[in-house]
């Protein structure tokens, strides 16, 4: 199995962090993994995206021409990437700021108002972790435990309170998606 996911949004929304945290947790689970960020001139102008491939076999291309999952944190990302998603794939939408919906019928769509939820939690910056909660629930690429442990390792020695709020944020996103 190889699962490919594209994370995309504005710079500052923690889009690359979403990818790196997924890649780290997949590595810690023992999977093969590649993480490929958009770089250079294409990052200027405020957009950011990255691609994570996770597999139980060697990963050939780190590029996702047909990602299984797409996480869009802003509207331009939806327009850019929605048609790449493989048939039967899933699109996660930051519905707090994206009103549009995919114009395809062959993909599943999950709307998560992660920016509003982050505000409710009192920290605007955890919208990405909330979205990761929703994504992990649906994709099941790694277990919540491994994800949260890996996230803590990446955040390093930063404040304990940060780990706490991340846990809460992740749980909020995880619980938001119904089985």
């Amino acid at each position: 199995m190889i699962v490919k996911t594209i994370f995309s949004g504005f710079g500052g929304q923690g889009v690359l962090m979403m990818g790196i945290s997924l890649a780290n947790s997949a590595m810690n689970k023992g999977y093969h993994v590649t993480y490929l960020p958009a770089y250079g001139a294409e990052m200027r102008g405020g957009t950011a995206n990255c691609t994570v491939a996770v597999g139980d076999e060697e990963i050939a291309s780190p590029v996702a021409s047909e990602p299984d999952y797409l996480i869009v944190m802003n509207l331009p990302s939806l327009f850019t990437f929605q048609n790449k998603v493989s048939a039967g794939g899933s699109i996660f939408i930051n519905s707090s700021i994206i009103d549009a919906r995919p114009n395809r019928q062959d993909v599943k769509t999950f709307c998560v108002p992660c920016a509003d939820m982050a505000q409710e939690l009192g920290n605007n910056r955890v919208a990405n972790v909330i979205m990761m909660g929703a994504f992990i629930k649906k994709s099941n690429v790694v277990s919540p435990d491994i994800y949260l442990k890996s996230l803590e390792i990446i955040m390093g020695s930063r404040k304990k309170t940060l780990a706490e709020i991340n846990r809460k944020a992740f749980a909020a996103g995880f619980d938001y998606i119904k089985d």
């Binding site: 790196i20 890649a23 780290n24 590595m27 093969h32 993994v33 590649t34 993480y35 490929l36 960020p37 770089y39 250079g40 001139a41 060697e58 050939a60 291309s61 780190p62 590029v63 021409s65």
Partner: protein, 352 residues
């Protein structure tokens, strides 16, 4: 040592420092900036480590030449246009027999081109690149793990043969993160007699490439040529992937080889027996290994992110004993495994 998730650029830098590299000079250019930044951050914590952000790639290569002469392990890195600038110094290091590592994280060309991954610098890398009769060892890893292992090995090769060694990767390899385990580097073996550190009370030395007498110069050229022959005999690396039962073999290196592996998986799922021959050292090219393979496999597809450069080495290796097709995507275009699989499938149907 645990597995760590690192980008190719950072892996090369970390492997270099672990291998004892204590001098780095470079000039920012995308897509290899993270390597320069990593060196800036970490060289200062390495004992005796020196980092200089040079005023140009020309200065950088000459800085590492000077530093190498003092007996320090050295590295510089750049991307295609910057590597063109370094050629003067690479030629000079080859002439003066100074070890050093030059990293080329290739991007689209010619000219300024773009910053996407490409493989258009194959000729420049494998034919010497600068002026004069010389070669550089060229190593083309295809995974971050190989970047770690082969960067360390590159330092040993550079010392062993007192010659510049190039790590040839591309923007994809530089930017991509993969899990990596760093091995323990071998202890360095580099005799003090080659180091220029002041004459002390002894005889003074000089290091030079200038040999005005053509007979001296000819002898020096032959001496280098003999060294290159030894390298060609002893230092070839390559990988064969699913060739045992193959009817057709893709020849590709670096990122292109990764894509080829993806294509092979798809093709095999459809019953097509396709394998991969991946040169890891591009110079010396695994010529005899490929020729040996042609005894039983007669169909080859060279796949490069260029208009066809390694293609010439494959032709030289196969010497007309096999059919050779080519698929290329130059200028920074990165094809998908699916696209390559389609190309291969068409050729596969027509093959003998």
């Amino acid at each position: 040592m645990n597995k760590v998730l690192m980008s190719g650029n950072n892996v090369i830098a970390e492997a270099g420092i672990r291998a004892g590299c204590r001098f780095y000079a470079g000039y920012p250019i995308t897509p290899q900036n993270e390597l320069t930044e990593y060196m800036a951050e970490h060289m200062r914590n390495a004992e005796g480590g020196v980092f200089i952000q040079s005023e140009s790639e020309v200065a950088a290569i000459n800085m590492i030449a000077g530093s190498s002469a003092t007996g320090v392990r050295v590295m510089t890195s750049s991307s295609s246009p910057g590597i063109s600038l370094k050629q003067e110094g690479i030629s000079s290091m080859a002439a003066c027999e100074l070890p050093g590592i030059i990293v080329n994280i290739m991007r689209g060309g010619p000219g300024l081109g773009n910053i996407r991954p490409a493989q258009g610098d194959y000729f420049q890398a494998t034919r010497g690149g600068g002026h004069g009769d010389y070669r550089t060892i060229v190593i083309a890893p295809a995974t971050c793990q190989e970047l770690a292992d082969l960067t360390m090995d590159a330092f040993d090769l550079a010392d062993k043969y007192r010659t510049p060694v190039m790590i040839l990767a591309d923007g994809m390899m530089g930017q991509m993160m993969e899990p990596v385990i760093f091995k323990k580097p071998k202890p360095r073996q580099y005799p003090e007699k080659f180091m220029l550190r002041g004459a002390g009370t002894g005889k003074s030395k000089f290091i030079r490439g200038l040999l005005l007498d053509p007979i001296d110069s000819e002898e020096h050229n032959w001496k280098l040529a003999r060294k290159y022959e030894v390298i060609t005999k002893n230092e070839i690396l390559h990988e064969e992937h699913r060739v045992d039962d193959a009817d057709l073999v893709i020849v590709a290196y670096g990122t292109a080889a990764r894509i080829a592996k993806g294509a092979i998986k798809r093709l095999r799922d459809h019953g097509m027996k396709v394998g991969l021959f991946r040169p890891i050292t591009l110079w010396p090219f695994p010529e005899l290994k490929l020729r040996a393979l042609s005894a039983k496999i007669k169909n080859y597809l060279v796949f490069e992110m260029s208009t066809g450069q390694m293609l010439e080495d494959v032709r030289l290796a196969l010497q007309g004993y096999a059919n050779i097709e080519f698929h290329g995507r130059p200028g920074g275009a990165v094809p998908t495994p699916a696209e390559l699989a389609n190309v291969v499938a068409k050729i596969y149907d027509k093959k003998d």
